[in-house]
């Protein structure tokens, strides 16, 4: 089934899921149900470098939020 992820970051940048370009930060992204690896691609000026999250039971208006922050 379809699930939703929203990758939070202070500004807009690309989102990669399982090493493939998938969309942009701060908007809900459609993903398949299950576990995904998420990162923001290059440059690696954010933390954590990558997150593995299990996405289930979400909706477009209640997506799984995944937070990245700029490296200090």
């Amino acid at each position: 089934m379809l699930e939703w992820v929203k990758v939070l970051y202070p500004r807009t940048r690309d989102v990669y899921i399982d090493d493939e370009l998938c969309g942009e930060t701060n908007v809900p992204l459609a993903v398949g149900q299950g576990t995904q690896q998420i990162d923001l691609g290059a440059p690696a000026d954010y933390t954590p470098a990558r997150r593995r999250v299990t996405v289930t039971g979400t909706s477009q208006t209640r997506p799984r939020e995944v937070v990245f922050t700029p490296k200090p």
Binding site: C22, G34, T35, Q36, Q37, Q60, T61
Partner: protein, 520 residues
């Protein structure tokens, strides 16, 4: 024993060994070649076809076609559906068939899919009917079995009836072409067989062959079609050699590790898929894979598309939707499922062994196929509803903010504040998530309005040769049913830009009355 007798016995032994070697060599299946070095961007896989299509803007309308099993009945019905796509012009010199991105097929439908993929549209529409649909394939196969020079091969334990069928199809239909000859442009052809040990779908794509470190480019296309259509008992399973993942330095795609890590409870189906994927990696445990008819795992070819969209991401559809590249997503299921009368039910006597065996083999397959179509229908409905809920929430927030601030002096600032608070509460944003128009078409005999034609087609046998008039009828209805489907007409209008842009996307469900239903 005298020296002469010893020499005689040695000569006989040598002779027997030579005969055995010759017999074994004559009767060996065509071995799939090894892959020297794994490269996830090389070979016949969907991703390898991606960039050129994107440059042509071909992603805007993403069309996935699936062809069911059912021998020549399925091949002809699929041909009709392709003819409908070919007859639908969407812009000058371009038809809807040019928009097809993926064709996933099983069994009889694989003849159609493979021929189109290999030889292209022009040759397909001029040659395929004579090459396959009108051809007496069963007679051709029987003739192969009757040829005395094929008998030694058939006596070999390493050469089955399917191997002989493979040689015949290769020579008579597919001209000795291999997967290397499949053009690296869309439609991407997925010929699906069933790994009989795991009961799992096994597609003839490089993604699948990577797992066994084998180079699909060197495999004849006929072998994929034969495996896909190797109906049990009539045809033996086809053997594929597993070289083991270590040999070509294979690394499984990320979804496999992710699913193993976290999907045991979250998505057990994806977890099982990952476990099956892994099962090929160890060639010591599974040095050979045995493939039978693709219909055993999924008789309409839709699971491969569903998995490619949701579970594995191999088709990259969701990514392209999120990136706004796919505006329309259409899934067309061409399903030549028959409907046989149940003569056994006319008698109190328990059905015979053939009826029971046939029911055991086909009923679960048909139910599973229906379930898969329903899963896609539910997916599309939920996706549409999610988009409509999002829009409704946003509109509700806008209206509420306007109402709450109508008497406030600093009207604009108040509205913005109220709206932002409401958006945050309801989880909506200024820009809605990308949402494609979704179309699902299930082309099947059940939709034929002419009951005589419907009964005639539902009674067509599952065979590899049919009378010409039956083939023509199947082609005609395959074409007509797709062309007349309301979803198809809406898709065509959408692609041509003929839909009213002011037409609301979200409407409350209409009160429809079913013809013939009486209300009290």
């Amino acid at each position: 024993m005298t020296p002469v007798a010893v020499r005689g016995r040695r000569a006989a032994t040598r002779c027997a060994a030579l005969c055995l070697a010759a017999w074994s060599l004559a009767g060996c299946y065509r071995v799939n070649p090894p892959l020297v070095q794994y490269d996830r961007d090389r070979g016949y896989r969907f991703k390898a076809l991606g960039s050129a299509a994107e440059q042509r803007g071909q992603d805007e309308t993403f069309v996935a076609l699936t062809f069911s099993g059912g021998g020549t009945r399925a091949a002809a019905f699929a041909y009709g559906a392709l003819a409908a796509l070919k007859a639908t012009e969407i812009s000058p010199g371009r038809t809807l068939l040019d928009e097809v991105d993926v064709i996933s097929s099983v069994s009889g439908g694989s003849f159609t899919a493979a021929y189109l993929g290999l030889f292209g549209q022009d040759a397909f529409f001029t040659q395929f009917p004579d090459a396959v649909l009108y051809r007496r394939l069963e007679c051709g196969l029987i003739w192969q079995f009757l040829k005395p020079w094929n008998w030694p091969k058939l006596l070999s334990p390493y050469f089955g009836r399917s191997d002989l069928a493979d040689e015949y199809y290769d020579d008579a239909i597919f001209d000795g072409r291999t997967f290397h000859d499949l053009p690296l442009h869309r439609p991407f052809i997925m010929l699906n067989a069933t790994d009989i040990s795991r009961g799992a779908q096994f597609s003839f794509t490089q993604d699948s062959f990577d797992r066994i470190c084998s180079d699909l480019d060197g495999v004849p296309v006929s072998r994929g079609v034969t495996a896909s259509s190797a109906f049990p008992v009539a045809f033996t399973p086809l053997t594929v050699k597993n070289y083991g993942a270590g040999r070509c330095h294979y690394a499984p795609p990320p979804w496999v590790g992710n699913a193993e890590c976290g999907d045991f409870d979250a998505n057990p189906q994806r977890y099982d898929l990952a476990k099956t994927w892994r099962s090929y990696e160890d060639a010591r445990r599974r040095p050979y894979i045995h493939l039978s008819d693709g219909g055993l795992a999924d008789n309409i070819g839709l699971r491969a598309v569903e998995n490619g969209i949701l579970a594995t991401g191999a088709l990259g559809v969701l990514n392209k939707v999120n990136l706004g590249r796919i505006k329309r997503l259409a899934v067309i299921v061409v399903d030549a499922k028959p409907h046989s009368e149940a003569p056994a039910d006319r008698s109190a006597r328990p059905p015979g062994i053939y009826t029971v065996l046939n029911a055991s083999a086909t009923n679960p397959m048909e139910n599973y196929s229906s379930d898969t179509v329903e899963r896609i229908r539910i997916l599309f409905n939920e996706w549409n509803r999610a988009a409509c809920d999002f829009e409704a929430n946003r509109a509700g927030c806008d209206a509420l903010a306007a109402q709450q601030c109508q008497h406030v002096r600093r009207h604009a600032g108040c509205e913005q504040t109220q709206r932002d608070a409401c958006y945050a509460k309801l989880g909506v944003t200024d820009a809605p998530p990308a949402h494609p128009s979704l179309y699902l078409m299930h082309v099947r005999f059940e939709a034929i309005p002419d009951s005589a034609a419907k009964q005639r087609l539902e009674a067509v046998d599952t065979r590899l040769q049919l009378p010409r008039d039956q083939v023509d009828l199947l082609v005609t209805w395959g074409q007509r049913l797709l062309a007349e489907s309301p979803q198809y007409q809406q898709l065509v209008a959408d692609v041509r830009g003929e839909l009213d842009p002011a037409r609301p996307r979200c409407l409350p469900p209409a009160d429809e009355e079913c013809d013939g239903a009486e209300s009290h």
